[in-house]
Symmetry: none
Subunit: 356 residues, 2 copies
């Protein structure tokens, strides 16, 4: 593909942009194609920062809505190019990126091109490096480089939400829980202290953990605390002196990051705990007038978002933000990633109706 | 060091060969130095197989004694080069390999060079890869490649025994105990099954294990069952679908290898167990005439050997074999590994007296 045609259907456009691979760090070609296509529309001011593209209207409306999506994907696993598929009478586009989140981006691109005079000013925002370490995130970079481009009264992030409006998101932290022992030859184990054995209570506590459901502004968030990695051992005949359990705590947005850390520290009381990654959750923000108006207009049910998303970045900046996009989030990153075609059409129709 | 001088004291020679690192798989340089030094002695026939060196007398004596030691060590942990140290008036050489087992090898090298006309024919045998998987063991390789070089009436292995004669050895096996789960995004952990959490009972059983003491031909062997490694985890945001605990079982020589495997299978009932390494123990063998003669001559006490050693390979071939060497075996593989200098001298003196 040498150019991107924004006049095709959102369904076709989903396939077109999925078939330009853009694994995190490798978004340049897709960003180039998008920039070139968008520049053809005189109602849009197009600005580029790295592989992030901003396209915005400047109509002097009294309210501005930010509508955003990331253009990178997790690595391809024999699931490109896209294919049309059907299952139980439901039609899908199958392939990497269809759910997370190029179907959402396709809808946004099409509406950006066609909505010459929307009812609110719109800042369309497509960014790079969402699927990797948060220090690389394109939206984070823009907030540092051009905070003026992130001003708005309300934000919609097109992350997959099955066409529902998902408010806020859980926070996430990672920690290493560590046990120490002392090495010895395993033939005389009683001379050492086995750090892997010492980790038994860590795993026991994790198996006894019961997730908390937290009601926040009417939405129920489920938490989760899991080991996501474990390592220990020196050699096959040595009593190990170190064992590290990496845990991931997904916490409801009624806990601050400090409170979440306290919870994990208390949970693993008696063990060394080192925090390695921390991102605050976001309250739903559905009490904001523009949010309520939006939910009513698109006629979608409001639900909690379990996964951490960049709505938290808007929330932190005081901008109410929701997730709203086509695709089943449980198929994100899946080898059988596929988006229901009818959801693409439904999200496009609802978003167009609200913005027109 | 560009050459090895076998005319220095056994104490100095211990330091010299410890200061040539030879972690398993990386023995070539030390083997080269030893081969070059030994070749200068015309009373020795020197043969090389990989990084194993045989040096033997061919005096037509009616009895042949094999005296052997391994030249590899476990990984270095900031404990080289060697240092002289003193504690409570006792002098030590400190550093990796001093105990396990280069002090023993140094004594052997010195006696090999000096005993031009020993009372028995001697096959000196220094080998590689003792500290790793038994499939790599240099002595095992020699038994396959050149079984003729392993013939003898009695064998002495210079493994650290505090200068006592240690009979037989425990057997050893390694197994991987495995749990399976199913992957999911950690934001929706309830969609998956956490294989690391599923390993909690494996560690719990290990912490509850009580070692058995077994009386075999008058010597008491203590068993041990330990985790020596644990791994699990896919990524920081994925519920892991696999956890593997590597365990090491040291079993008394009254259990066969089949019985030892049955014990481990029963111990981890309900979990997948895969055996990865297996070596039979050796009964003490102190009833053999040459063994009794040797014990009487060196005036040392007979004790059980806890660690598996290659005496089991000789034992299996019908050759009575004992462990006899300087160094406290409980300091083998220890970060504070250090050998008492007086033990090096004592073992050298006793061995020389018996062989001269």
């Amino acid at each position: 593909m040498s150019t991107l045609d924004l006049t095709v259907s959102a369904v076709q456009l989903t396939r077109d942009i999925c078939d330009v691979p853009s694994v995190s760090g490798d978004e340049k070609r897709l960003a180039d194609l998008m920039q070139e296509a968008l520049t053809a529309y005189p109602h849009l001011e197009v600005i580029r920062d790295g592989d992030l593209i901003v396209a915005r209207t400047n109509l002097g409306r009294d309210r501005r809505v930010i509508i955003a999506g990331h253009i990178d994907t997790v690595p391809i696993n024999h699931n490109l190019p896209t294919q049309l598929s059907e299952s139980d009478g439901v039609e899908y586009i199958w392939g990497r990126g269809t759910v997370d989140m190029k179907a959402g981006v396709a809808v946004q691109l099409k509406l950006a091109a066609e909505l010459v005079e929307p009812s609110v000013d719109i800042t369309w925002l497509w960014y790079d490096n969402e699927e990797v370490d948060s220090s690389l995130n394109g939206l984070g970079r823009l907030a540092r480089n051009r905070p003026d481009l992130m001003l708005g009264d309300f934000a919609i992030l097109g992350e997959p939400s099955n066409g529902a409006v998902e408010g806020g998101c859980n926070g996430t932290l990672r920690a290493v829980v560590r046990t120490h022992g002392s090495r010895a030859h395993s033939a005389r184990a009683w001379m050492g202290e086995n750090a892997i054995h010492a980790a038994a209570p860590i795993l026991a506590r994790l198996t006894e953990y019961t997730p908390r459901d937290a009601d926040v502004e009417g939405l129920v968030y489920r938490e989760g605390l899991n080991a996501v990695g474990i390592t220990g051992g020196v050699a096959g005949n040595v009593i190990p002196d170190l064992c590290e359990v990496e845990v991931n705590f997904r916490f409801a947005p009624d806990r601050s990051t400090d409170e979440a850390q306290d919870y994990v520290r208390d949970f693993f009381a008696g063990f060394e705990v080192e925090f390695t990654d921390l991102a605050a959750g976001a309250r739903p923000g559905l009490d904001a007038p523009l949010a309520q108006e939006f939910v009513a207009a698109v006629g979608a049910e409001a639900k909690p978002k379990y996964g951490w998303t960049d709505v938290a970045r808007f929330s932190e900046a005081g901008i109410p933000a929701v997730n709203y996009g086509p695709g089943d989030p449980s198929l994100a990153h899946h080898d059988q990633e596929r988006v229901e075609i009818s959801q693409i059409v439904a999200v496009e129709t609802a978003l167009r109706a609200w913005l027109a």
